[in-house]
Symmetry: D2
Subunit: 360 residues, 4 copies
Amino acid sequence: MSSNTFGTLFKLSTFGESHGKAIGGTIEGCPAGLKIDLDFIQSELDRRKPGQSNLSTTRKESDKVQLLSGVFKGISTGYPIGFILLNEDQQSNDYTPLKDLYRPSHADYSTEKKFGVRDFRGGGRSSARETACRVVAGAIAKLLLKKYKIEVRAFVKQVGTVVLKKNHNELKLSHTELNAVRCPDEAVALKMIKAIETARKQGDSLGGCIQCVAENVPAGLGEPVFDKLHAVLAHAMLSINAVKAFEIGAGFEAISKKGSEMNDEFLPSTSKNLKTKTNHSGGIQGGISNGMPIWFNVGFKPVSSISRTQKTVNKSGRSVALEITGRHDPCVLPRAVPIVESMTALVLADFLLLARSNQV
Amino acid sequence: MSSNTFGTLFKLSTFGESHGKAIGGTIEGCPAGLKIDLDFIQSELDRRKPGQSNLSTTRKESDKVQLLSGVFKGISTGYPIGFILLNEDQQSNDYTPLKDLYRPSHADYSTEKKFGVRDFRGGGRSSARETACRVVAGAIAKLLLKKYKIEVRAFVKQVGTVVLKKNHNELKLSHTELNAVRCPDEAVALKMIKAIETARKQGDSLGGCIQCVAENVPAGLGEPVFDKLHAVLAHAMLSINAVKAFEIGAGFEAISKKGSEMNDEFLPSTSKNLKTKTNHSGGIQGGISNGMPIWFNVGFKPVSSISRTQKTVNKSGRSVALEITGRHDPCVLPRAVPIVESMTALVLADFLLLARSNQV
Amino acid sequence: MSSNTFGTLFKLSTFGESHGKAIGGTIEGCPAGLKIDLDFIQSELDRRKPGQSNLSTTRKESDKVQLLSGVFKGISTGYPIGFILLNEDQQSNDYTPLKDLYRPSHADYSTEKKFGVRDFRGGGRSSARETACRVVAGAIAKLLLKKYKIEVRAFVKQVGTVVLKKNHNELKLSHTELNAVRCPDEAVALKMIKAIETARKQGDSLGGCIQCVAENVPAGLGEPVFDKLHAVLAHAMLSINAVKAFEIGAGFEAISKKGSEMNDEFLPSTSKNLKTKTNHSGGIQGGISNGMPIWFNVGFKPVSSISRTQKTVNKSGRSVALEITGRHDPCVLPRAVPIVESMTALVLADFLLLARSNQV
Amino acid sequence: MSSNTFGTLFKLSTFGESHGKAIGGTIEGCPAGLKIDLDFIQSELDRRKPGQSNLSTTRKESDKVQLLSGVFKGISTGYPIGFILLNEDQQSNDYTPLKDLYRPSHADYSTEKKFGVRDFRGGGRSSARETACRVVAGAIAKLLLKKYKIEVRAFVKQVGTVVLKKNHNELKLSHTELNAVRCPDEAVALKMIKAIETARKQGDSLGGCIQCVAENVPAGLGEPVFDKLHAVLAHAMLSINAVKAFEIGAGFEAISKKGSEMNDEFLPSTSKNLKTKTNHSGGIQGGISNGMPIWFNVGFKPVSSISRTQKTVNKSGRSVALEITGRHDPCVLPRAVPIVESMTALVLADFLLLARSNQV
C-alpha cells in the first residue's frame, strides 16, 4: 500500500500539490510497442480541465502535459513514462487566510493530525488537481485497451436531485459529450445544468452519481479472493476526491431483491463465450469478469468548498467564520467523468496484463 | 496486487478451497509482544461458523484453528503466524453433478475462463469458506487494536425489505449478539428472522446491509491519494463474497443533498482533538481519519445458491435445469457480521502501523 | 518488502520456526494447468533433508510435504498452493540452556534487539529449517521452467580451502549427485569430504562456495534498473542462511581485468538468437538475460554452530562459556545445493511470468 | 518487483533515459517534518556528476535538481517529493551509428530482445545517467539518517590491479574526498590515478572495488528470512550499473576459514548494547543489524564502453567493426562512491521506518 502509487504491473505513481511548481507522475509497466497518441492524451486532459464550461471553476490551467521519457519515435519503449504538468495559475495568496483554520469536511484537520505540518495552499495534495495525472495515465491505458477493443465510457447519471432513470444499456452513450454536464439524455442534462446554476448562485454545491461501463472486456480478469475485479474498481473509485459510494451492477438495489430475481441466467449458445439474459452482476461474477459489460455507479458528495459563510474553528480551537473566496466548481460531476473513466482504464489495463499469467 | 494477500505491513495471505484438505494462511507483520488470546480467536470463528443457528446452513465445520508458528509462550514473536483449519465435512460428491455446468451468478464460468481448469467442488476457492481465515487474522488485528482502545463493531441493518432505520449512534450495539440475526433492535430482528425463514421455505435467498462502526480510531490514519482510508475499506468490503456495494458515512444519501447540508462543522474545543457537530463524512476526511467514529454500510446481494430449480447451460452451451442440493444459507448476513468486522480490523491495524512512519 | 514473502507474480510466503508445530507456506501465482509432480517435489526435499549422509547432522526430519490446496486431480488450478511440513524431531530442551545467552555470530542477539522477545528454541525462525519451504516452492518453479526447457543446476565448488578450479562449462554437471558432497569432480569431492570429516572431529565448521548455472533461459528476462536479473538473484542468494557473498559471471575476478579483456564479443549468426564468444557477463547484460547460460557463485561462511567451547555473554552481559550440544552440520554446502537451485528457480519463474507483459 | 521502484516505506521511483528531455523521480514515504537541505542534495549530485575531474568523461551535465513537490517552507510535508534533472548535453547524433548494432557487454541486445524496440540513444535507460536520481533520493535518506546519527561512507578500495589492503577501520575516511579517485590513502590513490590515466590512453577501461561502511546503525534492522539486511543491500548494490559482485563483512575471504576463526565473540558489558571483539559478520547477524558497523565490498567490472576498435555484429547478425566515439569514463569507481552511499542510505532509511513496527 502506498498512497501515491496505484496498480501492480501497469502502475501509476503521482506527485504534486495544487500550488507547487508542477504535478506529475510515472507510468510503469506500459508494454513496449504501443503507439502513444499525444493528441488523444491532451484531449482527455481537456475534458477534465477547469474553465471548460460555465459550469466549472474559472480557474485557468492550460493542463499541457509533457512526456519526459519512455516514448521514442512515438512508440512506448517499455521504460517508465515520466510526465509533468506545470502549475500555472497559482493564486496561493488566496489561501493564506486559511492557514490557521480547518475548513469543514476538507482534509485540513486530518492532514495536520497525520503529518504534523501542512501545505495549506489550495488543499495541498488533497486538491483534485492531482487527478490530472490520473487522466494522463488513464489515456495511455485506454490506448492499450483499444488494442483489445475494450471501451470505457462514463456519464453523469445524477446531479443533486435530478436523476437520469436509465442505465447505460438504455442510452446512447455517444451523446454524452454533446452537453456541458456530460449526461447523454439532453432533457435531463438541461435540468442538471439548471440545478448547478442555481447552486452556484446560492453559494452552495451539489453531489451526484456517475455511471461507468466497460464493454468488450474479456472473461477472466480479476482475482478470486482479495483482488476481486469489483473490489479493485471500488478502491479506484473511492480514491477519487469527493467519492463516497460505489455499487457494482444492481448494487444497493439488489439487496432488497431475492436470489431468484437477481441471478443472471446463462443463455444457450454455440459460442465459447456465453452471455447472460440479465446483467445484475455488472459483468463480474466471483470477482472475475464474465464477458458481459461491466457497469457500476459512483456516488459523489457535494464538494465541501462552498462560498456561503460557514462556522468552523481555528488552530486554537476557537470558533471563526469562514468565507472561501477561491474559485471552485459548484458541482464536480461533469469534470469527474474522464477521471472515473481513467481510473477504470487503469484497473482494466493492469488486470489485462496480470491475466497473461493465469495459465501455463 | 495479489488475489491472496491483503495489507502492507499487517498482512494476511490465505490459501485453501472449500473441499481441499484444509484452509489456512499466514499473518505477517503482527508486532512482537502481543498477547495472543486463542480463546478470543476461536470465539470470533464461532460467530462465523456454519450451523450456529437455524438461520444458517446445516453444514458442520468445527472450524478449530491451529496456530502453527509465530507465537511463543502465548506472545507474538514478530515472526509470521501460520495457521490452518481442517476441512471436515466435505461432501464433495454433492458437487459432481455441477462439474459440467455453470451455476447462475456463481464464479463457475468466469473461473473456468480465467484458469482453463476448475476445482468444481463446492465452488473451490470462491466459496465463502475462505473467509474463516479472515476471521482468524481479524481477531488478531482486534487484539492489536484493543491496545489502542479501538473497537470495531458491525450489525445487520437490512435483510431483504426489512430495514433498521437507525444508524449506529442511535443503537445499543451491545445488543447485537442477543439474537441470531445480529440486529441490535429486537423488534426489527424478529422481522428479519421471519423473512429469512420464509425465504428458506421458498427455496430462495435474501440480501441485505451491514453497518460497521470503528470507534476511538485516532486522527491521522489513511493516505491522501490512492489509499484513502475509505478506499481501502471499500476494497476490503467488496472482497467479501456477495458484497456488491459500499458507502462511507452518508454515502449515496449524501449525493442528493447540498454542500451546506453535508459539511461537518468543527466544534470549538480546548482539546487538541477536535470533534465535528455532525459526522456525515463517516469519520474520514480527505482519505484520512479525523477522530470521529468511522462508519459505513456494506450491501450484500441475495446469495446465488438457491434450491429452486433454475435454468442454466452446460459446458456444451446447451440448456439444462439446475437443482442445487448442497446446504446453503438463505441469507448470509448474520454470519457475515464478524467477517465485516475482521476486514475492518485488518485495514485499521495496517494503517495504524503505517502511521508510525508519518512523521520524523 | 516483507521478510516472509519472495517474488511478484510467482510468489512464495513461508512461516514456521525450527521447533514450532510445523513449517509451511503458500505459493501464489503458479499458473493453472501445470502438472504437479509430487514425487519430484519430495525428491528435491530429500536432497536437502538432514541425515542424508555422514556429512550432515544426525537430526532426523522426514520432511514429508503435504500440499493442502491449489492442486486438483494433479493439476495446478491457479489457486494458491498451501503446504506444510510437520516438525518431528524437536529436542527443544536441548535449547533451554541457550535461552539466556547469545551464541556468537548467530541471530540470537540481533533478533532479541529487534523484537524484544525471542523464541530461543533451535534459533527460531533463523534456523535453516525454513529453507525446506523454499525447496518445495523451488521444485514447483522448476516444473514450470521445464515447460520452457530451462534447467537450473548447482554444485559445490569449494569447501574450506579445497577448491574446484573449473567452471560449470568445463564440468559434467550430471556427476554432481554421484557423491555426498555434490561436487561433480570426483577427485576434488574426496578431498572435500575429508576436509569436512576433519572439521567435524575438530568440533569446527567449514564454509565454501556453490556455483549455479541456468541454461536455456530466453533472452529478455530482468528489468533495466532496480530489478536487474542479477540483483534479484543476489537478493535471493543472500537471503539463504550463511551466505555472505555473491558474484555474477566473472565477478570479483573481473575487477582487476580490463574492459577489452572482459567484453563478451557477439558472434556472427543467421539466427535471431545471438551467442557471445565468451560469457564473462554470466548470461546477463544490463540486468537482462541475453540467452547465454546464467552462472554465478555463492559464498557461504563456515556456520556459526560449532561444538568447541566458545566464549560469549549472557543477557546480563556477563562472560560465559558456551558449549553447543545440538546436532549440526560441520559444513552446510552439500545440503545447500538444492536451496540455491530453488531460489534461482523462483527468481526465473517470476521473471518468466513478468516478461509476458514486456510487449504489446 | 518493479524495475523502476525501490523500497517499501521509504521508496524511490525513477524515470528517464540518457537522451530524453529529463530524468527524474518520486520519493515516497519521506516522513513529514524533515528539514530538506537543498544545498546538501546538490553537493551530493556534484560528487557524482561527469566532468568533475580529469579522470571522468568530458560530457557536461550541470545536474541541477529541481524539487517539484513535497517540500513546503524547507520542510518535508509527508507528500511525495517529485524531482527532475534536465538532460542538457545530448549529443544524440553520436549514437545514430549504433542503432543497428549491438555493443559488446552493453544492454543493447538484451533490451531489444526484451522490448522488441530500443531507444538506442546513449544506452537509453541502461545508461548510468539514471543513477543521478538515486543520489537525489539518497541525499534525502541521509538527511533522515543523520537524525539518528547514522553515517554512511564509501571509498574506492581497488582500481584495476591497484588494491588498498586496508579495511574501513584502519583508515581515515575523512580523507576520501581529498583526491579525485576517492581513495582515503593518498599513496594508493596516486597509483590508482596513474592506472586510470594509462587505461584512458590505451582506450581501455578499468574495474575495481568500493567499500562502504555504515556506522551507528541501531541493532534490530532487517528481517529474518527473505529480506535479510545484507540481502537487500546486495540487491541495491547489484542494481548499480557495472556492479557484478557483493560481499558482506569478511565475505569471500571467510569461506576458506573455519567457524572458530570467523565467529564474532560478544564482549562482556554493562550496557544494553553489546559489542563484538571482531566484526567478520559485517554488522549483520541472521539478517538483522547487531549495532556494529555495517561494512561490505562492491565489485565493479571494467565498463564496457572502450574506445578501442572491437568486433561485434549488427542487426542482421553480420560482423562489423565497432568504434565507440562517445565520451566515457575509463573507470567509473570514483563517481560511483556517492551512488553506493545513496543506495545504502535508501536501504537503511527504509528499514529504519519498517523497524518502527517491530514491537507492540
